[in-house]
């Protein structure tokens, strides 16, 4: 009925002559990152709206973002502090435990919802075209925003449990930024893996549980690794989740003096994870949305 469509080469020539872009092709990394940066407003809108929406169906609303961590801390205190007595080697156990529960809680939920960032948002992915890295990144930011009240609670608990403000407290926000960067990197990695094989999503809760008990949330790792080979203790103390807790404790708890090594290691992890995460996620960009 109309002229036959051009052949492959002619089509490419035509597209190039008029400056048309190949849509499905994965853009070069630099362009991808630039595109992601120009969507920062979108990421913020998405994250803030989602964190606001979190408790909107509950009658007590946002108060839950305060109650939830308090109740968790209380239940862990009863189990570990009172029943099991894991407080050995820790002076301010309430302070120690609160930091563990809240800081690890954020990492845990970023990773479990980050894993579903692409597969759980098919509506958005199939409707609108944008760099898909927006989704896992926004999961991380959503969680940080939603937990702002919990971070404030943490500071209040510090004061209540007898800590007194020091200059080191100013490092607390820096510790949270390092944590955020690390877990966003991990969310990017988890999102692509889960998109490739949805079955992996079932292993994530298990992995998180394992990490919860080996990262020093409830008890001081060094206290328990004393009898283990040095290498094992090293790995357990310098894995990112343990470090996240260590540096927050160093900034807020008097019994943990500041040390340079954990902060440097944490910054190194942040760099490795965010760069690795972005590159790993970007390499799968052309496949998201199919299936």
């Amino acid at each position: 009925m109309t002229a036959a469509p051009p052949g492959t080469d002619a089509a490419r020539a035509l597209a190039e002559r008029y400056g048309l872009k190949a849509l499905a092709a994965r853009p070069p990394l630099s362009e991808y990152l630039r595109d992601l940066w120009t969507r920062r407003g979108f990421i913020l809108t998405l994250s803030s709206s989602r964190s606001e929406a979190r408790y909107q169906n509950n009658q007590l609303g946002r108060l839950w973002s305060v109650f939830n961590p308090m109740l968790l801390i209380l239940s862990y205190f009863l189990i570990f502090g009172v029943l099991l007595g894991t407080r050995r080697g820790v002076d301010n156990f309430i302070g120690f435990l609160s930091i563990g529960v809240i800081v690890f809680g954020v990492s845990g939920s970023v990773i479990s919802s980050g894993a579903r960032a692409v597969t759980g948002n098919t509506g958005l992915v199939r409707a609108l075209r944008f760099p898909r890295a927006v989704l896992p990144v926004s999961v991380g930011i959503t969680e940080m925003l939603a937990n702002l009240p919990a971070f404030v609670i943490l500071v209040v608990l510090m004061l209540a449990s007898g800590e007194r403000p020091t200059w080191a407290w100013l490092l607390f926000p820096l510790a949270l930024v390092l944590q955020a960067v690390q877990i966003i990197g991990m969310a990017l990695i988890a999102a692509r893996i889960t998109h490739g094989s949805r079955d992996v999503a079932n292993l994530i809760p298990l992995l998180l549980r394992l990490l919860r008990y080996t990262s020093g949330v409830f008890f001081s790792i060094s206290h328990y690794t004393a009898n283990l080979p040095a290498a094992v203790g090293y790995v357990m103390e310098y894995q990112p989740f343990a470090l996240q807790l260590t540096i927050v404790r160093q900034s807020l708890l008097a019994e943990y003096p500041l040390g340079l090594l954990p902060w440097v290691a944490s910054a190194a992890w942040a760099l490795v994870l965010i760069v690795g995460g972005l590159v790993f996620f970007w390499r799968g960009e052309a496949s998201y949305g199919r299936g």
Binding site: G123, L124, R212, S287
Partner: protein, 576 residues
């Protein structure tokens, strides 16, 4: 338009798309079981070759309609043009970032329309300040008024479609892709969206429109592309292509229902090629072999079959359909499987000929015929044994929708359905009402359908009230019946459009105590939408093929299924 210097906006070259679909969970029928689990039934990725070697060039200012029957790859092609689905092979180039406006373009349902305007427009590449500038215009165009501040989960599908249209067109995209969305919304909104599209084309945008409706395509497009089975059949001026498409539709064996359709998890479809087969299939999915009784009624007169439904629910027996002269093979197969102690044949000897009764007896079944004078008398005879005071629902014979609503109501209040004829209520129906002495009589239909004289004749026979029920639409009526159940978080909700598909289904829904809701082909009416939200079903079963309930709507229905969206964050349980 733009004929002087035709500049291309989209180039599609030898495009192939193969995608994986995940099978649906088999949660009913018990066919899965451990064996199914071990085999991984319905879990293994299945692939669909949706678009095959499609090439074309689209130009600025063009409006292109994509036509083809269900499952022909239209939507997939458009998603590929929008850059949402990566090609398996071949290439797509486009000018800028095409905006897709699709029925399934769900934004964030838990958030307000206003928040969604920011999310949608920013995702399409606008900055926050640019959205600020067009925000009022979007709200005004969407006609949502104060609803804009309510969560999108409270919107009807029409309202949501309007908002999506307003957002997508506000960004003045170089390429705008519209997927069936114009079918949603009222005539007024359609006219305004038509205007908006013309305006966009004037600004050298290219508009793609997917529609089942040849008229919409003729109306809005100057060029058409016809796809069939993923292959480009024709591409040219709209009238030529649409004429050819319509001619093919008339001339050949294809029907809009025979195309494959991707599985939608949580939303099953129970359907076969005709009402007889659908009825047998539905029965086979829900009834165990060895029932006490099976009701058989004529498939040509669904009024009688539907009026049998409440009685069948009481007996926990299926209703199957037969032709007036023969027992269709699927029905016979299902009868053999059920091997009932008794077959109750509902219909006089003109509705179901003696030959049918004979062939059933020959096949070894025990057959009891219930019949009276015509359809009305037959149904009255069926109501013979009900207890005194049973509620009566009176519907006009021939108005199948009214009879279905009457049957749904009767299932709910354990009543009976009786039929009125064209000349009022036959004597034997009045006798039946007199014998029952119902506490209430509900008359389904206005004074044209059931004359006032009927109401007057019935009134002395009841010790209660005679109520006339004027239901604005079947969908609304089904939602009302369901709402009186006050159930929520139900296991299953049945969905239907065409009455022919629903006879056996209504019995199953009745026995299961599950709601049966009626919808439009492409839309969930407002009242049903509200009811579905309230019910929060674990899964849905559709009675009917793609011709009566479109694949897009099926996709949309998945949103109502509880648990289809990932729960947020971890629960306390997950903390340990």
């Amino acid at each position: 338009m733009a004929a002087a210097e035709r500049t291309p906006s989209v180039v599609v070259s030898h495009l192939d798309i193969v995608y994986r679909v995940f099978g649906s969970r088999a949660r009913t029928g018990g066919s899965g079981g451990l064996r199914g689990l071990l085999r991984g039934d319905g879990r293994a990725p299945r692939t669909v070759h949706a678009v095959k070697d499609v090439s074309f060039v689209a130009y600025h200012g063009e409006s292109i309609g994509i036509i083809g029957r269900n499952g022909s790859g239209k939507s997939t092609l458009l998603r590929a043009i929008a850059g949402l689905i990566p090609p398996t092979s071949g290439e797509v180039w486009a000018d800028g970032s095409p905006a897709l406006l699709g029925v399934n373009a769900v934004l964030e349902k838990s958030l307000s329309g206003a928040k969604n305007i920011y999310i949608g427009a920013q995702a399409l590449g606008m900055s926050r300040s640019q959205v600020d500038a067009v925000f009022d215009e979007i709200v005004e165009f969407s006609e949502l008024g104060d609803f804009i501040h309510l969560p999108m989960s409270t919107y009807s599908s029409g309202m949501a479609a309007k908002l999506r249209f307003a957002i997508s067109t506000a960004t003045s995209p170089g390429v705008l892709i519209i997927d069936e969305a114009l079918a949603t919304g009222d005539a007024h909104f359609r006219a305004r969206s038509h205007e908006r599209i013309t305006e966009l084309r004037g600004r050298a945008s290219t508009v793609f429109l997917v529609s089942h409706s040849a008229n919409t395509v003729r109306d809005m497009c100057d060029r058409a592309i016809w796809l069939d089975g993923g292959v480009l059949v024709a591409d040219g001026p709209v009238d030529e292509v649409v004429d050819a498409y319509e001619a093919a539709g008339r001339g050949s064996r294809w029907s809009p229902t025979d195309a494959p359709e991707p599985d939608v998890p949580g939303v099953e479809r129970w359907f076969s090629r005709d009402r007889y087969t659908t009825s047998a299939l539905t029965s086979s999915k829900a009834f165990e072999a060895g029932t006490d009784r099976v009701f058989l009624a004529a498939g040509q007169d669904l009024s009688v079959a539907l009026a049998t439904v409440p009685e069948a629910v009481r007996s926990a027996a299926p209703v199957l359909l037969v032709r007036s002269r023969t027992v269709p093979p699927p029905t016979l197969t299902e009868l053999r499987r059920l091997s009932p102690a008794e077959i109750v044949l509902v219909g006089d000897e003109t509705a179901v000929l003696p030959a049918v009764e004979q062939s059933l007896t020959d096949a070894g079944f025990t057959v009891r015929r219930v019949s009276g004078d015509g359809p009305c008398g037959t149904v009255a005879a069926l109501a013979g044994g009900v207890p005194l005071g049973t509620p009566v629902h009176l519907a006009p014979h021939g108005d199948e929708t009214a009879v279905l609503v009457a049957a749904l109501e009767a299932v709910r209040d354990d009543g009976v359905v009786l039929l009125t004829g064209e000349d009022g209520v036959p004597g034997d129906v009045l006798d039946a009402i007199d014998t029952i002495a119902p506490h209430t009589v509900r008359v389904l239909g206005d004074a044209d359908a059931v004359p006032e004289s009927v109401v007057r004749a019935v009134r002395p026979l009841t010790d209660g009230a005679v109520q006339r029920v004027l239901s604005p639409s079947p969908a609304e009526a089904s939602a009302e019946v369901s709402a009186t159940g006050e159930r929520t978080e139900v296991d299953v909700v049945y969905i239907a459009k065409a009455i022919g598909d629903v006879v056996t289904g209504a019995v199953i829904a009745g026995i299961a105590g599950a709601p049966l809701l009626l919808v439009e082909r492409d839309e969930v009416p407002r009242s049903v939408d509200e009811e579905l939200r309230r019910l929060r079903p674990a899964h849905l079963v559709i009675f009917g093929g793609a011709g009566s309930i479109s694949p897009d709507l099926r996709q949309q229905l998945a949103d109502y299924v509880e648990g289809s969206e990932d729960s947020e964050g971890e629960t306390l349980d997950g903390m340990f």
